[in-house]
Symmetry: C3
């Protein structure tokens, strides 16, 4: 399997995992099967699609039906194995940490290829990994998780910045990508294990 | 009137109807006249605009001012005839069912013309019909109706799939379109009449 | 400094101010520092980005890193000077009224340059000034302020229409722009001073 193939299939698998987590979120509210499918779809394609729209590109899933098939498989897994998946929450958060590492670096690279500024590429790397979840939470009428819980988007920013800095040293691109994704993974897992949080802003004022 | 003319004016009329329903939704909350106009606008152009943005096209209403005029007429009708319209809820839901049938097929056709995959075209057909309402509900800080009530987006998916399957049989395009839209209409009306729902996912857990 | 330079730096300063107000909004909820930064970013670039996306253009901040630097400065000011800024709410609302006047006219002009219809240009002028705040409020799970409070978006519409009408008289473009922005400012400040509101639609029905 060539490198390009490898990235393509990783992208499909990552999309499927995001669809699983999106559809599982529907459990939290009284949402029907269509809603669960829609939320799985939005979680899976939201981040990458917004990045592509900002770059004035057509998102890949519009032309390549395989992404939508991956999403349907992910949603089906979530609907069928719903309660079992809840038991594997810990394992899932490991996969999630791998997933956001992968998507962050994919997002940075695509942005740089299409001539975004370096700082925008860092933002887009993070967007690719987290914005699908933000849209999902917003549609479900909740304050997005990433604004109020744990170090998540910040881990993506750390990995994206690492990747950019390493690239400037002239290190081989694959190594930069691998180390950048690893930084996302490690920061995320360490922050879960030691319950690290970012400080909240101001006082909490009940409205 | 030519076919193209017919579709163009249907599109304007449909846009006006969606603006009416969007502005009427403002009734549910303490929203001012600007808010009602904005919600009418978003409901009317949201679905088609998102489809066009995903296809990397400029939405039609940006260049053709007639769509915004149609929306202003729709919003004015809603604001002036507000309470009377409430009495005609049943008639309005008939028009709505016709409208979503029409917009679904328009959405599928435009997506195929601009080279989306077949499965994405089905998604975009449904998007064209329902996403304006999803954005409206989200802006009003409510869980979108289509996630929790009745068979609505699912009717659009059924019609879109029917249209695609018929096209593959080589049937005349106008007939495919008409039958596809009719499927949306019938599924929608039957589900209202017999109070059919999709099953909810998981247990409802009050948060 | 040339005219173009002047507009460019005004744009950066305006972006910074919007980032301040966006990050300050995080104070209202239990949001962490990343969330505050994200909300500052969204408030600052949301309106102009949506306008550009509707026009099928790439938003300026994607290629020009200075906008993101301006946002980071704005967010830092908001986080460091948080409580002091609260004391200057009145001064800030003056700057805000200048800012929305400026952004409205910039939005109308850019839309006309890129061939939108006149009526769409009015809408985009208002969008440029207010949509960032709408997205911020929606992400924070609140009904957008502009739907329920004060004359804000309406002031932008008034200024945008004034600008378009003056242009048609053949008046020098800089004067049209200045008068249009002044109309936004005056309508906004007068409505604050005399507590003017738009009428709400229908009866408020608690759901």
């Amino acid at each position: 399997m060539t490198d390009a193939n490898y990235i393509y299939y990783s992208d499909l698998v990552g999309t499927m995992f995001f669809a699983i987590s999106g559809a599982m979120a529907a459990n939290r509210k009284n949402i029907d099967m269509f809603g669960a499918t829609f939320l799985g779809f939005v979680t899976a394609i939201g981040g990458g699609s917004l990045r592509d729209i900002f770059l004035n590109l057509r998102p890949v899933w519009v032309n390549d039906g395989n992404y939508l098939v991956a999403i349907l498989i992910g949603v089906s897994i979530a609907l069928l194995a719903n309660e079992r998946l809840d038991k594997y929450a810990r394992t899932l958060s490991l996969f999630d940490a791998i997933g956001i590492g992968f998507f962050t670096i994919v997002g940075v690279q695509k942005s740089l290829i299409y001539d975004s500024s370096t700082i925008a590429a860092v933002v887009f790397g993070m967007f690719t990994a987290v914005l699908g979840g933000v849209i999902r939470d917003t549609l479900m009428n909740e304050t997005p998780l990433i604004f109020r819980k744990e170090i998540y988007a910040t881990a993506c920013l750390a990995g994206a910045i690492t990747f950019i800095l390493l690239r400037n040293t002239g290190l081989n691109n694959s190594w930069c990508a691998f180390i950048g994704a690893a930084v996302v993974f490690v920061v995320r897992i360490v922050s879960i294990k030691y319950r690290l949080f970012l400080p909240a802003v101001g006082e909490y004022k009940k409205r």
